[in-house]
Symmetry: C2
DNA sequence: GAGTGGATTTCGCAT
DNA sequence: ATGCGAAGTCCACTC
């Protein structure tokens, strides 16, 4: 086992640590809320909202400083097993191989102990990630650890996501003209008895307008939903209302439905919304970009 | 820079490699479809279905052998940026710091070149992950790499997930009595003009039964959907049909709707389904567990 | 390629 | 806590 301390951040790398050494390092890292990367040969068992079993193989386990827990196989975007990290607590233990197999099969320990002749060799490292609510348990059984690294990462960088549906709404609030000249926002995310209206406003002539926003092609569902909103809002305010569907485009073959339901379509490009938010917000951000 | 070859699998670890060395190692690893772990100080820019920007900080980048690409911050369950790995290609480049900032701000290279006095120093490693469809691009700009590891992982272990809705369906196919005594499965996932019926069968008296399965509490939506299925199936077979909603429980306040729509509720515990699948399937699996 | 439905969905925000 | 809607949802599947 070789321990290397990297000079930059507090990054330690351990090559082929014994399981005894590994349990020590991992315990300390979890306590100190450091990020852990563990590469090794393991089995995984999960019980909770569903249950799963993953047989022996080499994987990457990441435990983050907030407790988030990810087991990644060598391929695929998603972790094969995980824990969100909210209220996740950890329990580490060295156990015997037979104990592990019994544990994986949920057999009772007593029946095992009855059959046991020699005390078990402690040759498997069990990592339990436990969550209270919803009750979930992931157990990883490492029989070999190839690589173990503890990381103290500094990451305060701001993350900004542009042109989500949320951002499109913000852009409309900033520039109501995106809907049409003279449009005024009255409120947004107005609750109706059937759901939400994205934006609620008035046009130049003072008529009520409800706006439904879609980031992507607006389809039949969005139109029917908007029509339903119209109904419930008209019941409330007791007058006619204009309905605008704001989206990059409408689905093929829905033109007629749009007309039938007396809805209006306003082309609204998510990227343009992103650009508007950029213009408004990034004057200061741009400076920090060049630091 | 220290290079360590671990004796077990083909695992290499590089401590504080220069960016020149790193680009070499990463290129080779991506070509050979090895798993890569890169820890370093970076910025990230994403454009595609949406767009995002992540400012400077220390993160973990994982590139898997199928091209899956994940950038993880020190906290949080989800990757902050990612690429699924389907048709993802990679482009690596050493660029100057100013070039990077201009690239991150989408400025035109020409305007940059006009302002440029000295040729830029190549002191940032850019990793581009590019996807064709939907068109997406993630760019990571490392100005320092703390830790770089290439992994050749062996992972053929089978993964089994129990008690998903799919498994509940399988359990019913194995033990139709779960629905009721004498129930017989005719087919499953039968297509109708409005959607799918989970299971389609006949009761003891030979009446048609359609079964809708929910892993979780069945609500209003499931009931309306099932009622819709009934209609379209009745149109087809031209006779009355029984509708059974199989779920662990129904939502509060939906009892009346259930009656109104003339649906029946059958309590079906996902865990019990999992146990049944276990009984049927794990006789052999248990043996392999003890290897 | 587009469309549909499920997911250990996750992640918000509302009540 | 619960419930609803959105997500760069992902994913498998059908058309």
């Amino acid at each position: 086992m070789v321990k290397i301390r990297l000079n930059s951040s507090s990054i330690y790398v351990f090559k082929n640590p014994t399981l005894e050494k590994a349990i020590e390092i991992i315990s300390e890292a979890v306590d100190k809320k450091e990020v852990l990367i563990i590469v090794g040969n393991c089995r995984v068992k999960y019980t909770g909202r569903a249950s799963s079993k993953l047989e022996l193989g080499e994987r990457i386990l990441i435990i983050k400083r907030d407790g988030a827990f990810l087991i990644h196989r060598p391929g695929g975007y998603q972790p094969v097993n995980w824990m969100s990290g909210k209220d996740t607590i950890y329990h580490l233990e060295l156990i015997g191989r037979k104990e592990m197999l019994l544990s994986m099969n949920n057999a009772k320990k007593t029946s095992f102990e009855n059959r046991l002749e020699d005390p078990p060799k402690k040759n498997v490292l069990q990592i339990q990630a436990i969550q209270r609510s919803p009750p979930e348990l992931v157990r990883v059984f490492f029989d070999q650890i190839h690589l173990l690294s503890t990381l103290n990462l500094e990451d305060t960088g701001r993350f900004s996501l542009y042109a989500s549906e949320e951002d499109m709404k913000k852009a409309i609030l900033l520039k109501p003209d995106l809907i049409e000249k003279g449009f005024k926002v009255v409120s947004y995310e107005k609750r109706t008895d059937t759901g939400f209206v994205d934006v609620y406003g008035a046009d130049e002539q003072g008529r009520f307008v409800i706006v439904e926003i879609k980031r992507k092609t607006a389809g039949r569902a969005a139109m029917l939903q908007l029509a339903k909103y119209r109904k419930s809002v008209e019941m409330e305010v007791n007058r006619d209302i204009r309905c605008v569907l704001a989206a990059p485009k409408i689905a093929r073959g829905t033109q007629r439905l749009l007309a039938t339901l007396n809805l209006e379509f306003k082309r609204l490009d998510p990227k343009r919304c992103a650009a508007i938010l950029n213009d408004e917000q990034t004057q200061r951000a741009r400076i920090s970009d060049f630091i």
